[in-house]
Every structure is written in structure tokens, then in C-alpha cells.
Assembly symmetry: C2
């Protein structure tokens, strides 16, 4: 890897920069409205979780172009006719527009903007790639994690889910964003240390099989670990013979200090049931059982429904890669442009890629059972339907942040509360729940 | 996002650090051999591409722990009994072991180590999470991209594939790694500017639908773009009516400077065929056709086989997320440990997670047709089978890099050459080719 310094500003598609250069050169200073929304719901999903706003706002408010960035861009043939205006624009760049967004942790559905950027078109265009990639990974993982966490808790016993996915995430940085998104969606914590540090997420860890096999026998490996971490002894019992290891454990002189055992392979229902029986018979009801190894919402639901005595699930691959639906479908579309006070609605009419024009607001209704009863998408300038609340609020004005930075725990709490307001059917893992979404008459007319 | 500075060192699982602390505290200085390999081939794949070595070596040789990192770790309850020895170990950390690896861009198969770390066990353990996550994303995307590039070239017409996936990658950093991996596997370039800068990858870009719809009509949008980028005019023609736009194009006064058109929706076979006819009839045979929009190896193969006159494919989502198999299956396992000159082979015997012990070498045979004829996995200390070459070489000794840094273009060339030596059957997109892989008699005995 070259040692040239990496800047956030160039983590973007080339065409964002060429288009921005074109707008600057053409003196196109119209105010654009771009909306970021999820196109089509994944086939087996009923809701999505908005996640990534803090990263997005941090990016927007800190985006600048260094001299090195500009020198590199100037070296590209495509910019050989680009005039100094654009290089000055980049040199002095500081986002000066407005941003509207849903609260982070909010429940949302396809076709609903979760973020809107209102700014001179060159500025708004430049944000596209980064915003999409950061919202795509975080919304994707949060939406998947919400299903997993729900499956684990369906019996009301408070079983927790911990993110163990860093090694399988799409690179070391995706691991950090995935850990954050999983926590926002209700996970109890993560194994990712940087995510723990950066976002104040509770950290969890056990031991790996390598620790067990590094020693001559399992008992020695257990003892050595306990010596170092007497209050945090979680024993991985499946390296050789799971139940033999659990039985042996009950005779250890430090047995009363063991916090939990971890099962990472085999038939988790049988092994957890047998382990529980052995532990309980030895008076070790206090020792928890953690299960891991290729878990997802389907396998967890099965285990929970069967009554497997598992206290906590460590979930990795399937959660952090959203393996059954691994690419989020968020897009960033120009919906409106205002030149000299004149508003023009904009839409793309490409086959199967039509878009809905206009700067929108979404109003969410709530039934007498406190559950969400349906959303109405309107133009921002329309009046609010009665007994609804608007989901999009102004979070940045003239480049200045209007809302205080939220802690990840606060965002998580908001998400937990929002999920409670979903209709029960939304948690069915296979049949999508048809959440009511309607467009205002005004918008319907614009769509014809 | 907190503004605390982020260090590479904490982009890891907590248990790597607790285990390292345990090893230090237990004075466990045995030399460990960890091997990083792919467990099971994806169901429809016949080969994999090794990618990520430069990032891995850069990480290994620069890994250090700052005072802030150490202070943060000390604040965790799990470390409350950890002695000063471990904090000194982290403070003075500098990897001092050996690393063996396949060449980057090499073709490999399940069960073949692509990287081996030989070091005191605490040092080797610490590298696990980062190495896995960086190899996982790069091997995953390179292996997928190799299929896509091959599908595009199957008719020998040299159609190129360009990475357009940044927005759908799993975050802004995954986008950069994915762009690199796609290029290594044979893509012609990427739209990701930072990847272009950091890895000297050719950069490509066109225009977005927002550019077209920002103007009052398509013709104005085209003209405005051409004015700014006269030598790089690629017109996106599908915003309203594709063929109408192409026809209109043939009458433009700058028609002879148009490089290409891009089709991003609709029936790409029909639209490209019709567009080609219109362009050719107008004497614009020189204008290339670029297609994009939800492409993958299957759709490209279909277009190529049907003879669609497409010169270049822009591929995004399915490539950078490896959508049909979105989580790589690389693991990092302890296979051998040496204490006071005594070597012990190590394996995990968990059900369906058994591992093969011993520090290995892989020997690759080549047939008279210059194609790879099969691999043999041996213990490193065994003699090489005749007429084979070893795939693993020592790339780092006592923490010092032994091989010169390769340019990404060199790595790509190596990969292009390696792919040419694959049996034809390996490129079948649906039926996996059973590439011969055998274990030496010695290893077979160890596996019993």
C-alpha cells in the first residue's frame, strides 16, 4: 500500500467531481434538493432501520479538499480543460447548505427519504458517493440486526445478541460501522475494540480455539485463562468433546468463578440442553451459556422456539454482511431544483427506475394501540395530515449542525422504542408485512 | 461520531488482546504457526484469487499501540488483573516474526493457506482479526470480479469491465479495497478516486441522471457537459427516451467528439443493438457503447453470447458486495506450536470444523498445455514433488519485509497470467470445476 496520505474527500466517484466542475464552470448555482431513499424492500423484510446519520453529518461538516487532493485531480486528463474557478471552489469548499433527516434509529420503509440535502447543486452532488456508502452499510446491518435481536428475544427471556462479526465484515472499517449499526439495532455489544472506544459500546470477548489448542490439554488451557481473568472466565468448551469438557468443569476448584461457557459448533440445541442439565445438577445454575457459529435470525428463532437454554448469542458473518441481502438499495436522487425562485420538480423516467419528484415530508400515523398505523408521503410544503408526526427534521442549516450530537446509547434507545411500535406482523421473518404507505394527492399528480 | 482519534491497532476483536495478555502473563513464548485459508468453496465457484497481501504486510509492519490505545484498554474491567508486563509488551510492540504468503493475484482453492504467520504466539494472535477482515473483502471481491471480467471477454473481443460500485460497497473504506481487488482481478479501472490515487488504478467516470435532469432539456445537458469536457464526453442517454436521445445525438455539431454513450436501464441487448445501428448509420462507428445497471457475470455472459454491441461494462453492486456469496470464508488457525525445539501439531476437532495441522507448503503442477494440473498440500519440511512449484514463499523475516513492494499493475498482471493457466472448466459460471487437490501421505497421517 502506498504511503500517500488518504483523505476522506477523494473517497468518492470521479463523476461527482467532474459534474461539480461542470456546474461550477457553467455557473449553475441553482438550489438542488437531493433525497436519499431505499428503492425496493428486500423480499423477506418488512421494515428498515435508519442508521449512519452521525457519520454523515460529521462527513458533511468536515469535508474539505487538501492541496494534495487538488493536485492529484489536476493531474487527471479529464480535468485538463477545467478552469481555475473549480479548483478555487474545491480549495474553499465548506458545505453551506441545509440537511433534513430522519432521526437515527428510526424505522423506515422503501420510497421514504431518510436524508435530504438542499444546497447549490455542485455542493449537493459532491456528497453523493460517501453518503450512500456510509448509509448503505449502516442501514443494511442495522436492519438485519433488528431481525436477529428480535428473534433472540421473542420468548421474552431477554436473551442477548452480541456482534462477533469483525473478521467477516467487508474490511477493518466496515467492521467498525457494522458493530455500531448492530448496537443501534439492539445488540448488547460488540467484540470490536475500536467500535467500543469510538462509540461507547459495551465490549465482549471470550477465548478462541487457538487458546485451547495452544496448551497440552484443555484443563490446563482453562486454568491458565482463569488465572489471568478470574472475574471474566468464559470457557470455550467445544474444541474436543463438548460435554466431557462441561462435566470436567463442574469439578474445578474455581468452578464458582466461571461466568459462562461458549458453544461454537455442533447441535446447539442438544449441546446447550445437556450442558445446562450438567451445570444445574452440579449447582452451577449461575453459569451462563453463550452460543455462536454461523447463527442468524432463522437459526436463533428455531433455537428459541425449541426452548434451548442459551442466554446469549454471538452473531457474526450473517449479521455484519447481511448475508441474505448483502447490498442495500439506497439511492440519492435529484428531486427538485430552484433557479431564481422558480421551483422545478425533477424525476427520472427510465424504465423500472422512475423516481418521485419534489422535496418531501413523511407523516407517520399512530393507532390507539400506540403502533405505527401507516405513513403518508407529501410535498414538504403541504399541510400535515391530522394525528401524525413528521419524520424528517432540519438537522443542518447553512452548513451548521442544528441538533446536538447523540450518544450511540441514545440512538439505540430510540431504535428500541421505535421497533416496539411496529405492528407484530413486521417481525415475521418470511412473509413481508404490507405497511401502509400512501402518497398525497399532490404528489400523485406530479408522478403522472 | 466521536472525534477521538482512531488507530488501526484497536480495529480488532477484544479476545485477541485478552488472549495476548494471557500469553504474556503465562510467559508462553512458544513459536506458533497460524495459517489463513478459505474453508469451503462457494457452491458455484471453481477458483479464488488471493488479494490483500500488500495491505496485510503494511499492517503487520506498522502495528503499534499508542498510549491512548493502552489507556483505553486499561480502563476495561476485563483487564483489571492484567499485570504491567502486558502493557509493556503493547507499548514496545513491533512484529518480529516471519510471514509466508502466496503471491498476490495468485489463483487458490479451499484448504490452501494463502498466508502463514510464524511468531511467538501472543504476537501472531494479535494479527488475526485485521488480517482476516482485509483478506476477506479483497479475496471475496477479486474472486467475484475474475468471473465478471471473464464473462465480458469470453468472445475474445476485449470488452472491458470497470468498477462503479463505491456507493454500494460496505462503507467508504470497503469501496477503496473493493476497487483495488476488482482491478487486481482484471477490471480496467474504477470510479473510486482515492483507489485511483492510492493504487495507481485508471479512473473512469461518466455523468449521472441528476446532471441530465438538472437542465431543462437533455440536449442542453449534453451540450453543457461537452463544453466542459470536450475530450471526455460520454453521454448518458437513458434518462427519458434512450433511442430518441441517440438519434438526436447524431445531429449534434460536436458529434465527432463524443467518445461514448452509456445505457443504464432497460433491455440492454435491444438498446445497445439499436443504438449501434443508429450510430453506425450516421458514420459514428467510433462512438463506444457502455452498459451499466445491475450487471453481474450471468447477465454479462448472456449479453456477450447474444452478441450485444457493448464495448464496456460498468459493474457495481453485485461485484463489490459479491452479492451471490457475500461473506468470504477465510479463517486463521493455529496449526503448529514449537516449545524448546519440540514441535507439536495442532488441530481443532469440533464437528464440521476440523482443521489440518502442521506448517504447510503447497506445490502446484502444470501440464504440458501450461495449465495448472493440480495442487499437493505437504508439510513444509517435506520434499517438493517433482515438476511442481511451491506457492508459499517467505515474505517477512524477523518482522522485516523480504520482497519488494509490488505496484498494483504488477499484481494485476500476475493475476491475469495466473487465470490463463486455469483449466477452461474453471470458468463455467454454474458448475464448479473439481480442481485436483491432494494431501501428502505425511499430512494424511496427521489428520487421522
Amino acid at each position: 500500500m502506498r504511503t500517500r496520505q488518504r483523505h476522506q474527500a477523494l473517497k468518492t466517484d470521479l463523476y461527482e467531481l467532474t459534474m461539480a466542475a461542470g456546474y461550477v464552470q457553467n455557473h449553475m448555482s441553482s438550489q438542488a434538493v437531493f433525497e436519499l431513499y431505499w428503492r425496493v424492500m428486500p423480499p423477506n423484510r418488512s421494515f428498515l432501520i435508519a442508521c449512519g446519520l452521525e457519520q454523515a453529518l460529521s462527513y458533511i461538516s468536515s469535508l474539505t479538499f487538501s492541496n494534495d487532493d487538488i493536485l492529484f485531480l489536476k493531474s487527471l486528463d479529464v480535468f485538463k480543460h477545467t478552469k481555475e474557478d473549480f479548483w478555487d471552489f474545491l480549495k474553499n469548499f465548506s458545505f453551506g447548505g441545509d440537511v433534513y433527516a430522519m432521526r437515527e434509529g428510526e424505522v423506515f420503509f422503501a420510497d421514504e427519504p431518510i436524508l435530504q440535502v438542499v444546497a447549490p447543486i455542485a455542493e449537493a452532488q459532491l456528497l453523493e458517493t460517501y453518503l450512500l456508502s456510509v448509509f448503505n452499510i449502516e442501514c443494511l446491518v442495522a436492519s438485519k440486526a433488528a431481525r436477529i435481536v428480535h428473534a433472540a428475544r421473542e420468548d421474552g427471556l431477554g436473551r442477548s445478541v452480541v456482534d462477533f462479526g469483525s473478521r467477516r465484515a467487508h474490511g477493518p472499517d466496515a467492521a467498525v460501522l457494522a458493530a455500531r449499526a448492530a448496537y443501534v439495532a439492539g445488540c448488547a455489544g460488540t467484540s470490536n475494540v475500536l467500535a467500543g472506544q469510538a462509540f461507547d459500546i459495551p465490549l465482549y470477548g471470550t477465548i478462541a480455539h487457538s487458546w485451547i489448542s495452544a496448551y497440552d490439554d484443555e484443563q490446563e488451557a482453562f486454568k491458565r485463562y482463569h488465572d489471568c481473568f478470574p472475574d471474566h472466565t468464559i470457557l470455550l468448551v467445544d474444541t474436543y468433546d463438548t460435554l466431557k469438557a462441561v462435566k470436567a468443569m463442574t469439578g474445578l476448584d474455581y468452578r464458582d468463578q466461571i461466568k459462562a461457557i461458549r458453544l461454537d459448533s455442533g447441535d446447539l440445541f442438544n449441546l446447550s440442553s445437556e450442558s445446562r442439565r450438567i451445570l444445574d445438577a452440579a449447582g452451577l445454575s449461575r453459569v451462563k451459556i453463550i452460543a455462536s457459529g454461523g447463527l442468524n435470525e432463522y437459526k436463533i428463532k428455531e433455537l428459541v422456539q425449541a426452548g434451548a437454554p442459551i442466554d446469549s448469542f454471538g452473531v457474526g458473518t450473517d449479521m455484519v454482511t447481511s448475508s441474505d441481502y448483502s447490498a442495500a438499495d439506497l439511492i440519492y436522487k435529484l428531486v427538485q431544483i430552484e433557479t431564481d425562485g422558480q421551483v422545478k420538480y425533477k424525476a427520472k423516467r427510465s424504465p423500472r427506475k422512475q423516481t418521485v419528484p419534489g422535496h418531501k415530508q413523511i407523516y407517520r400515523g399512530t393507532g390507539s394501540d400506540h403502533r405505527f398505523s401507516g405513513d403518508k408521503v407529501c410535498l414538504k410544503k403541504e399541510e400535515a395530515p391530522s394525528r401524525t408526526r413528521p419524520l424528517l427534521m432540519k438537522v443542518m442549516e447553512n452548513g451548521k449542525r442544528l441538533i446536538p450530537e447523540k450518544t450511540t446509547a441514545e440512538i439505540r434507545q430510540y431504535c428500541v422504542d421505535a421497533k416496539k411500535c411496529l405492528p407484530d406482523g413486521a417481525f415475521d421473518l418470511k412473509t413481508p408485512y404490507p405497511y401502509p404507505l400512501e402518497y398525497s394527492g399532490h404528489l400523485q399528480k406530479l408522478m403522472i
